[in-house]
Symmetry: C2
Subunit: 242 residues, 2 copies
DNA sequence: TTCGGTTGTCTAGATTAATAGACATCTAGG
DNA sequence: CCTAGATGTCTATTAATCTAGACAACCGAA
């Protein structure tokens, strides 16, 4: 049933599977997890091992144990983030959450890495403004972004972003009335370091990473962004254009 | 540096990071891994722990240890799989591999799960043909697909697929001259069970999952597919339409 | 109040992971 | 032919994980 000796602790494998089952709506009828003894039998492990897994999910605020009653399921449901020609970070989640919040963690102007200058068709080492942001939906972090803008054209865009809390508005302040997504590259890795903390993930959690280039209406690249989404809270969708 | 007591063995965390570094081209200059003692110092662990990690990568045929010389890096580089309005499984990888191979694992006709009938706008429990396939590039498995076709319209499509080895050709045999992708939903999870074996992944490895619906030119859904890609070998790209 | 079912806690032992050190084995190069 | 530097193998010890069992604490309902 479960893999032993795999380099991943049994309780973590079980936690992953239970998180998946919860997001899949497997326990929606009752809103409760099955009793620990039942889960232990189902996974073929000791009850203590299941308890470790449940403790991990409780740490993530996914379940809430209640002595004498059972273990309640708190949140479920994936949010959907649409990717298309007119992808906007804040708008995308739109009506799926009651409250959306963007936070600017850091802003700097520095020589950009080669991957960035290549994507923006700049000379190697060109200075760029770098913005580090986190977005939360209903108090839960849902994305962590690192954006680059050519400094020659967008010097001070960090201040504009700070005022408006929106990339779209900040770009408009620099004469970019509209912008389109030129390309998106999607991958997935295990969460690490800063992302783990900012997105409040446990070690071994998966983050979807979307690397995107946006251009203005003249097809000139204006932004390079690498956004990380917690895979257990967000699904990416690719929709045809209207 | 590395997380202990996290439910994920140190050697596996290190293996993940090294696999990422390899795919990132960090060691392309020499084509060799740094010596085990250097890696051990860099990660702050014992040499034996690094050796466990390297053994895991060797198991995946990512590196090849050579006594007295060092540890050679075998393959690297991600393949890119484009997702768009005209996504085709085989064509997508096109020129990126010398040899592409599709294999039909299983075919069955059965009542489809609700997620499938919902997506194909069929009545719950409608019979569908289910195809299980694996695709390999240069001998390495790169995707594992589960497809559903409405049985009323496509009974026997498994035979057509077996003959041609292509979904596109199989659909054409049933009068679908062309088809378009209506929606794609992307997520990522840890590899499990059959996928782990078929894609030759180790436990804890990440698979990107793309759930797609294709329609014919009259906008009638013809196929529901759930494709799993090994995240360490494939990146998904979303390109605007030409 | 009593009872069945649930989570919470404790102890003990067995298995697996990680550290530490020593030394063998192999290769390229001086 | 050596030697420096690399991987391969072995033993021993410590720490973390998993199993096993017992019982306490708590809740809801009969």
């Amino acid at each position: 049933m479960m893999e032993r000796q795999a380099g991943v602790a049994l309780w973590r494998q079980i936690a992953d599977r239970m998180r998946l089952a919860i997001n899949n709506g497997d326990f929606d009828e009752t809103g409760m997890m099955p009793p620990e003894t039942v889960l232990a039998a189902r996974f073929g492990v000791n009850r203590h091992t299941v308890r470790s897994a449940l403790a991990s999910l409780a740490e993530e605020d996914i379940v809430q144990p209640m002595q004498g009653i059972g273990t309640r399921i708190l949140r479920s449901r994936h949010l959907r983030f649409p990717i298309g020609r007119r992808t906007r970070l804040s708008q995308g989640l739109g009506a799926q959450a009651r409250e959306l919040e963007g936070l600017l963690l850091e802003a700097a102007c520095e020589a950009a890495p080669q991957a960035v200058t290549d994507a923006l068709t700049l000379a190697p080492g060109t200075a760029c403004v770098r913005l580090e942001t986190v977005h939360s939906a209903d108090g839960r972090p849902v994305s962590r972004s690192t954006s680059f803008f050519p400094a020659s054209r967008f010097a001070g865009i960090d201040a504009a972003y700070r005022r408006s809390g929106s990339i779209t508005a900040a770009l408009r302040a620099f004469g970019v009335s509209d912008y389109l997504r030129k390309s998106t590259e999607i991958s997935a890795v295990h969460a690490e370091g800063d992302d783990m903390q900012r997105l409040r993930l446990s070690p071994g959690a998966i983050v979807l990473t979307a690397t995107a280039v946006n251009t203005d209406l003249a097809d000139v690249p204006v932004q390079y962004a690498r956004t990380r989404f917690p895979a257990d809270r967000i699904k990416l969708t690719v929709e045809p254009e209207s």
